[in-house]
Amino acid sequence: MDKSFYTIFKTFFKVGTMLLGGGYVILPLLQSELVEKKGWIDSDGLCEYYALGQSVPGIIAANISIFVGYKLRGQIGALSAVLGIVTPAFLAIILIASMLEEIVNLSFIQSIFWGVGIGVIMLLFLATKEMWGKSIVDKFTCFVFFASFILSACFHVSPAIIIILAIISGIVYRKIEPKIEEVQPNILEECEK
Protein backbone atom coordinates (compact mmCIF):
# COMPACT_ATOMS: atom_id res chain seq x y z
CA MET A 1 0.00 0.00 0.00
CA ASP A 2 1.28 3.44 -0.99
CA LYS A 3 2.36 5.34 2.10
CA SER A 4 4.17 8.28 0.52
CA PHE A 5 4.26 11.73 2.14
CA TYR A 6 1.83 12.97 -0.48
CA THR A 7 -0.68 10.11 -0.07
CA ILE A 8 -0.77 10.47 3.71
CA PHE A 9 -1.09 14.25 3.40
CA LYS A 10 -3.91 13.91 0.86
CA THR A 11 -5.84 11.42 3.01
CA PHE A 12 -5.71 13.59 6.13
CA PHE A 13 -6.41 16.71 4.08
CA LYS A 14 -9.64 15.05 2.95
CA VAL A 15 -10.59 14.20 6.53
CA GLY A 16 -9.73 17.77 7.59
CA THR A 17 -12.01 19.17 4.91
CA MET A 18 -14.94 17.05 6.04
CA LEU A 19 -14.61 17.84 9.75
CA LEU A 20 -17.37 20.26 10.66
CA GLY A 21 -18.43 21.57 14.06
CA GLY A 22 -16.77 19.86 17.06
CA GLY A 23 -14.25 17.06 16.72
CA TYR A 24 -16.67 14.30 17.59
CA VAL A 25 -17.25 13.29 13.95
CA ILE A 26 -13.60 12.45 13.42
CA LEU A 27 -13.91 8.79 14.42
CA PRO A 28 -16.38 7.74 11.67
CA LEU A 29 -14.41 9.81 9.12
CA LEU A 30 -11.12 8.12 9.98
CA GLN A 31 -12.84 4.74 10.07
CA SER A 32 -14.02 5.24 6.50
CA GLU A 33 -10.78 6.72 5.10
CA LEU A 34 -8.01 4.88 6.97
CA VAL A 35 -9.59 1.55 7.83
CA GLU A 36 -12.03 0.87 5.01
CA LYS A 37 -10.57 2.67 1.98
CA LYS A 38 -6.81 2.58 2.65
CA GLY A 39 -6.54 -0.42 4.99
CA TRP A 40 -3.64 1.30 6.79
CA ILE A 41 -4.80 0.31 10.29
CA ASP A 42 -7.60 -1.86 11.70
CA SER A 43 -10.63 -0.74 13.75
CA ASP A 44 -9.06 -1.71 17.07
CA GLY A 45 -5.91 0.24 16.27
CA LEU A 46 -7.94 3.31 15.34
CA CYS A 47 -9.93 2.99 18.55
CA GLU A 48 -6.75 2.86 20.57
CA TYR A 49 -5.38 6.00 18.90
CA TYR A 50 -8.71 7.74 19.42
CA ALA A 51 -8.55 7.01 23.15
CA LEU A 52 -4.87 7.99 23.34
CA GLY A 53 -5.55 11.20 21.41
CA GLN A 54 -7.85 12.29 24.22
CA SER A 55 -5.22 11.53 26.87
CA VAL A 56 -2.67 13.93 25.40
CA PRO A 57 -3.02 17.72 25.67
CA GLY A 58 -3.91 19.76 22.58
CA ILE A 59 -6.37 19.39 19.75
CA ILE A 60 -7.68 15.81 19.67
CA ALA A 61 -8.00 15.57 15.87
CA ALA A 62 -4.37 16.63 15.51
CA ASN A 63 -3.23 14.19 18.22
CA ILE A 64 -4.93 11.23 16.53
CA SER A 65 -3.50 12.22 13.14
CA ILE A 66 0.03 12.41 14.54
CA PHE A 67 -0.38 9.01 16.25
CA VAL A 68 -1.62 7.36 13.04
CA GLY A 69 0.91 9.17 10.81
CA TYR A 70 3.78 8.15 13.07
CA LYS A 71 2.61 4.53 13.05
CA LEU A 72 2.46 4.57 9.25
CA ARG A 73 5.84 6.17 8.45
CA GLY A 74 7.59 7.53 11.53
CA GLN A 75 8.42 11.24 11.66
CA ILE A 76 7.64 11.81 7.97
CA GLY A 77 4.24 10.20 8.35
CA ALA A 78 3.47 12.21 11.48
CA LEU A 79 4.43 15.46 9.75
CA SER A 80 2.40 14.78 6.61
CA ALA A 81 -0.65 13.69 8.64
CA VAL A 82 -0.66 16.76 10.86
CA LEU A 83 -0.11 19.10 7.90
CA GLY A 84 -2.97 17.39 6.11
CA ILE A 85 -5.44 17.73 8.98
CA VAL A 86 -4.50 21.36 9.76
CA THR A 87 -4.20 22.87 6.27
CA PRO A 88 -7.93 22.95 5.33
CA ALA A 89 -8.79 24.63 8.66
CA PHE A 90 -5.96 27.13 8.22
CA LEU A 91 -6.85 28.06 4.63
CA ALA A 92 -10.58 28.36 5.36
CA ILE A 93 -10.00 30.72 8.28
CA ILE A 94 -7.44 32.87 6.41
CA LEU A 95 -9.94 33.27 3.60
CA ILE A 96 -12.80 34.21 5.92
CA ALA A 97 -10.72 36.38 8.25
CA SER A 98 -9.38 38.50 5.39
CA MET A 99 -12.91 39.20 4.14
CA LEU A 100 -14.34 39.68 7.60
CA GLU A 101 -13.34 43.29 8.17
CA GLU A 102 -15.24 44.42 5.11
CA ILE A 103 -18.47 42.63 5.94
CA VAL A 104 -18.49 42.76 9.72
CA ASN A 105 -19.87 46.29 9.88
CA LEU A 106 -22.91 45.55 7.74
CA SER A 107 -25.89 45.71 10.06
CA PHE A 108 -27.46 42.41 9.01
CA ILE A 109 -24.14 40.62 9.58
CA GLN A 110 -24.06 42.18 13.05
CA SER A 111 -27.55 40.80 13.68
CA ILE A 112 -26.51 37.31 12.55
CA PHE A 113 -23.44 37.46 14.81
CA TRP A 114 -25.62 38.55 17.72
CA GLY A 115 -27.80 35.47 17.28
CA VAL A 116 -24.93 33.09 16.59
CA GLY A 117 -23.20 34.36 19.75
CA ILE A 118 -26.12 32.97 21.75
CA GLY A 119 -25.89 29.70 19.78
CA VAL A 120 -22.19 29.46 20.68
CA ILE A 121 -22.99 29.77 24.38
CA MET A 122 -25.48 26.95 23.90
CA LEU A 123 -22.75 24.82 22.24
CA LEU A 124 -20.43 25.53 25.18
CA PHE A 125 -23.18 24.45 27.54
CA LEU A 126 -23.70 21.20 25.61
CA ALA A 127 -19.95 20.50 25.45
CA THR A 128 -19.68 21.08 29.21
CA LYS A 129 -22.60 18.73 29.82
CA GLU A 130 -21.02 16.02 27.70
CA MET A 131 -17.64 16.40 29.43
CA TRP A 132 -19.40 16.32 32.81
CA GLY A 133 -20.91 12.93 31.95
CA LYS A 134 -17.51 11.52 31.02
CA SER A 135 -15.40 13.03 33.77
CA ILE A 136 -17.33 13.51 37.02
CA VAL A 137 -17.46 10.01 38.46
CA ASP A 138 -17.05 10.49 42.23
CA LYS A 139 -16.62 13.06 45.04
CA PHE A 140 -13.03 13.83 44.16
CA THR A 141 -13.72 14.60 40.50
CA CYS A 142 -16.73 16.67 41.57
CA PHE A 143 -14.47 18.64 43.92
CA VAL A 144 -11.91 19.21 41.13
CA PHE A 145 -14.69 20.47 38.85
CA PHE A 146 -15.96 23.07 41.35
CA ALA A 147 -12.46 24.08 42.47
CA SER A 148 -11.42 24.71 38.84
CA PHE A 149 -14.65 26.52 38.11
CA ILE A 150 -14.33 28.85 41.11
CA LEU A 151 -10.62 29.57 40.57
CA SER A 152 -11.34 30.46 36.95
CA ALA A 153 -14.70 32.27 37.21
CA CYS A 154 -14.17 34.16 40.49
CA PHE A 155 -10.42 34.64 40.72
CA HIS A 156 -9.44 34.64 37.02
CA VAL A 157 -6.55 32.26 37.68
CA SER A 158 -4.72 31.29 34.48
CA PRO A 159 -6.13 28.03 33.02
CA ALA A 160 -2.60 26.59 32.74
CA ILE A 161 -2.09 26.95 36.50
CA ILE A 162 -5.45 25.28 37.17
CA ILE A 163 -4.49 22.36 34.91
CA ILE A 164 -1.13 21.96 36.68
CA LEU A 165 -2.90 22.02 40.08
CA ALA A 166 -5.33 19.37 38.82
CA ILE A 167 -2.49 17.09 37.71
CA ILE A 168 -0.78 17.44 41.09
CA SER A 169 -4.02 16.86 42.99
CA GLY A 170 -4.77 13.69 40.99
CA ILE A 171 -1.34 12.23 41.66
CA VAL A 172 -1.38 13.19 45.36
CA TYR A 173 -4.90 11.84 45.77
CA ARG A 174 -3.86 8.49 44.32
CA LYS A 175 -1.08 8.29 46.92
CA ILE A 176 -3.36 8.94 49.90
CA GLU A 177 -6.34 6.96 48.59
CA PRO A 178 -4.83 4.00 46.70
CA LYS A 179 -8.14 2.16 46.39
CA ILE A 180 -9.28 4.94 44.03
CA GLU A 181 -7.38 3.20 41.24
CA GLU A 182 -10.37 1.01 40.66
CA VAL A 183 -12.42 4.08 39.71
CA GLN A 184 -9.76 5.60 37.50
CA PRO A 185 -10.68 4.58 33.99
CA ASN A 186 -8.22 2.70 31.87
CA ILE A 187 -7.17 5.00 29.03
CA LEU A 188 -8.37 2.51 26.44
CA GLU A 189 -11.88 2.20 27.85
CA GLU A 190 -12.84 5.31 25.88
CA CYS A 191 -12.99 3.05 22.84
CA GLU A 192 -16.37 1.65 23.70
CA LYS A 193 -18.22 4.56 22.14
Binding site: G21, I26, F113
Partner: protein, 176 residues
Protein backbone atom coordinates in the same frame (compact mmCIF):
# COMPACT_ATOMS: atom_id res chain seq x y z
CA UNK B 1 8.31 41.28 20.28
CA UNK B 2 4.77 40.27 19.44
CA UNK B 3 5.70 37.11 17.51
CA UNK B 4 7.66 35.56 20.36
CA UNK B 5 4.86 36.37 22.78
CA UNK B 6 2.34 34.90 20.31
CA UNK B 7 4.42 31.73 20.06
CA UNK B 8 4.66 31.38 23.86
CA UNK B 9 0.93 31.98 24.40
CA UNK B 10 -0.21 29.46 21.80
CA UNK B 11 2.43 26.91 22.73
CA UNK B 12 1.16 26.96 26.31
CA UNK B 13 -2.42 26.56 25.03
CA UNK B 14 -1.35 23.45 23.10
CA UNK B 15 0.45 22.12 26.14
CA UNK B 16 -2.28 22.62 28.75
CA UNK B 17 -5.64 22.35 27.00
CA UNK B 18 -7.39 19.06 27.76
CA UNK B 19 -10.73 17.78 26.58
CA UNK B 20 -10.80 18.54 22.87
CA UNK B 21 -13.15 20.63 20.77
CA UNK B 22 -13.65 23.69 22.90
CA UNK B 23 -10.88 22.98 25.43
CA UNK B 24 -8.71 25.77 24.00
CA UNK B 25 -11.41 28.39 24.65
CA UNK B 26 -10.71 29.05 28.35
CA UNK B 27 -7.14 29.90 27.33
CA UNK B 28 -8.16 32.13 24.42
CA UNK B 29 -10.65 33.81 26.73
CA UNK B 30 -7.92 34.44 29.28
CA UNK B 31 -5.74 35.97 26.52
CA UNK B 32 -8.58 38.31 25.55
CA UNK B 33 -8.81 39.49 29.15
CA UNK B 34 -5.10 39.75 29.94
CA UNK B 35 -3.22 40.42 26.68
CA UNK B 36 -6.10 42.29 25.01
CA UNK B 37 -4.99 41.18 21.54
CA UNK B 38 -8.68 40.87 20.64
CA UNK B 39 -11.91 41.45 22.53
CA UNK B 40 -14.23 38.88 24.09
CA UNK B 41 -16.86 39.95 21.54
CA UNK B 42 -14.43 39.22 18.68
CA UNK B 43 -13.62 35.85 20.25
CA UNK B 44 -17.32 34.95 20.34
CA UNK B 45 -17.58 35.75 16.61
CA UNK B 46 -14.44 33.68 15.94
CA UNK B 47 -15.89 30.67 17.77
CA UNK B 48 -19.13 30.98 15.81
CA UNK B 49 -17.32 31.09 12.47
CA UNK B 50 -14.95 28.30 13.50
CA UNK B 51 -17.90 26.05 14.36
CA UNK B 52 -19.19 26.25 10.78
CA UNK B 53 -15.81 26.08 8.99
CA UNK B 54 -14.05 22.88 7.84
CA UNK B 55 -11.38 21.53 10.15
CA UNK B 56 -10.96 20.92 13.88
CA UNK B 57 -12.53 23.82 15.82
CA UNK B 58 -9.41 24.19 17.98
CA UNK B 59 -7.23 24.75 14.89
CA UNK B 60 -9.74 27.13 13.31
CA UNK B 61 -10.05 29.32 16.35
CA UNK B 62 -6.26 29.39 16.98
CA UNK B 63 -5.63 30.45 13.36
CA UNK B 64 -8.33 33.09 13.72
CA UNK B 65 -6.98 34.47 16.99
CA UNK B 66 -3.47 34.60 15.51
CA UNK B 67 -4.79 36.44 12.47
CA UNK B 68 -6.70 38.90 14.66
CA UNK B 69 -3.51 39.56 16.63
CA UNK B 70 -1.05 40.17 13.81
CA UNK B 71 -2.29 39.18 10.36
CA UNK B 72 -1.28 36.20 8.26
CA UNK B 73 2.11 35.77 9.90
CA UNK B 74 0.39 35.74 13.29
CA UNK B 75 -1.99 33.07 11.99
CA UNK B 76 0.91 30.87 10.88
CA UNK B 77 2.71 31.22 14.23
CA UNK B 78 -0.45 30.61 16.28
CA UNK B 79 -1.43 27.49 14.31
CA UNK B 80 2.07 26.01 14.35
CA UNK B 81 2.68 26.68 18.02
CA UNK B 82 -0.69 25.34 19.20
CA UNK B 83 0.09 22.04 17.40
CA UNK B 84 3.79 21.79 18.34
CA UNK B 85 3.33 20.42 21.92
CA UNK B 86 0.97 17.73 20.54
CA UNK B 87 3.54 16.80 17.94
CA UNK B 88 6.39 16.47 20.41
CA UNK B 89 4.34 14.64 23.07
CA UNK B 90 2.65 12.20 20.68
CA UNK B 91 5.97 11.16 19.16
CA UNK B 92 7.52 10.64 22.59
CA UNK B 93 4.46 8.65 23.74
CA UNK B 94 4.42 6.59 20.52
CA UNK B 95 7.90 5.39 21.36
CA UNK B 96 6.87 4.26 24.85
CA UNK B 97 3.22 3.43 24.30
CA UNK B 98 2.83 0.61 26.79
CA UNK B 99 4.51 2.44 29.65
CA UNK B 100 2.26 5.44 29.02
CA UNK B 101 -0.98 3.45 29.00
CA UNK B 102 -0.26 1.51 32.15
CA UNK B 103 1.46 4.26 34.16
CA UNK B 104 -0.54 4.85 37.33
CA UNK B 105 0.48 8.49 37.68
CA UNK B 106 -0.59 9.20 34.10
CA UNK B 107 -3.96 7.64 34.80
CA UNK B 108 -4.33 9.57 38.06
CA UNK B 109 -3.45 12.80 36.25
CA UNK B 110 -5.99 12.18 33.48
CA UNK B 111 -8.62 11.29 36.07
CA UNK B 112 -8.18 14.76 37.64
CA UNK B 113 -7.58 16.65 34.38
CA UNK B 114 -10.92 15.84 32.81
CA UNK B 115 -13.12 17.46 35.50
CA UNK B 116 -10.71 20.44 35.58
CA UNK B 117 -11.09 20.97 31.81
CA UNK B 118 -14.84 20.69 32.26
CA UNK B 119 -14.84 23.28 35.09
CA UNK B 120 -12.79 25.73 32.98
CA UNK B 121 -15.22 25.43 30.09
CA UNK B 122 -18.22 25.93 32.40
CA UNK B 123 -16.59 29.13 33.73
CA UNK B 124 -16.18 30.53 30.20
CA UNK B 125 -19.75 29.62 29.30
CA UNK B 126 -21.20 31.35 32.36
CA UNK B 127 -19.01 34.42 31.94
CA UNK B 128 -20.09 34.75 28.30
CA UNK B 129 -23.71 34.28 29.28
CA UNK B 130 -23.62 36.96 31.98
CA UNK B 131 -21.79 39.49 29.79
CA UNK B 132 -23.44 38.99 26.40
CA UNK B 133 -26.98 37.82 26.90
CA UNK B 134 -29.76 40.37 27.15
CA UNK B 135 -33.48 39.66 27.60
CA UNK B 136 -34.10 38.57 24.01
CA UNK B 137 -30.91 36.50 24.17
CA UNK B 138 -32.21 34.69 27.24
CA UNK B 139 -35.43 33.93 25.38
CA UNK B 140 -33.47 32.47 22.43
CA UNK B 141 -31.24 30.51 24.80
CA UNK B 142 -34.29 29.10 26.60
CA UNK B 143 -35.74 27.90 23.27
CA UNK B 144 -32.44 26.27 22.27
CA UNK B 145 -32.23 24.68 25.70
CA UNK B 146 -35.71 23.15 25.44
CA UNK B 147 -34.93 21.87 21.92
CA UNK B 148 -31.67 20.31 23.15
CA UNK B 149 -33.47 18.45 25.96
CA UNK B 150 -35.73 16.66 23.47
CA UNK B 151 -33.01 15.17 21.29
CA UNK B 152 -29.32 15.48 20.46
CA UNK B 153 -28.68 17.61 17.39
CA UNK B 154 -25.81 18.79 15.25
CA UNK B 155 -24.03 22.02 16.36
CA UNK B 156 -24.95 23.52 12.98
CA UNK B 157 -28.63 23.14 13.87
CA UNK B 158 -28.32 25.45 16.91
CA UNK B 159 -26.17 27.96 15.04
CA UNK B 160 -28.69 27.97 12.17
CA UNK B 161 -31.65 28.73 14.44
CA UNK B 162 -29.59 31.41 16.21
CA UNK B 163 -28.52 33.07 12.95
CA UNK B 164 -32.09 33.23 11.63
CA UNK B 165 -33.37 34.58 14.96
CA UNK B 166 -30.62 37.22 14.96
CA UNK B 167 -31.48 38.24 11.41
CA UNK B 168 -35.19 38.58 12.24
CA UNK B 169 -34.45 40.48 15.44
CA UNK B 170 -32.20 42.82 13.42
CA UNK B 171 -34.99 43.62 10.96
CA UNK B 172 -37.31 44.35 13.86
CA UNK B 173 -34.60 46.42 15.61
CA UNK B 174 -34.91 44.52 18.89
CA UNK B 175 -31.42 43.05 19.36
CA UNK B 176 -30.46 45.69 21.90
Amino acid sequence: MIYINLFLQFFHIGLFSFGGGYATLPFLYHIAEVQKWYTVKQLTDMIAISSITPGPVGVNVATFAGFATSGIFGAIIATTSVILPSYILVIIISKALEQFESNKNVRAAIYALKPAGCGLLAAVGIDMFVNNVNLLGMFLFAILFVVSMKQKRDPLFYLGISAVTGLLAGFLHITN
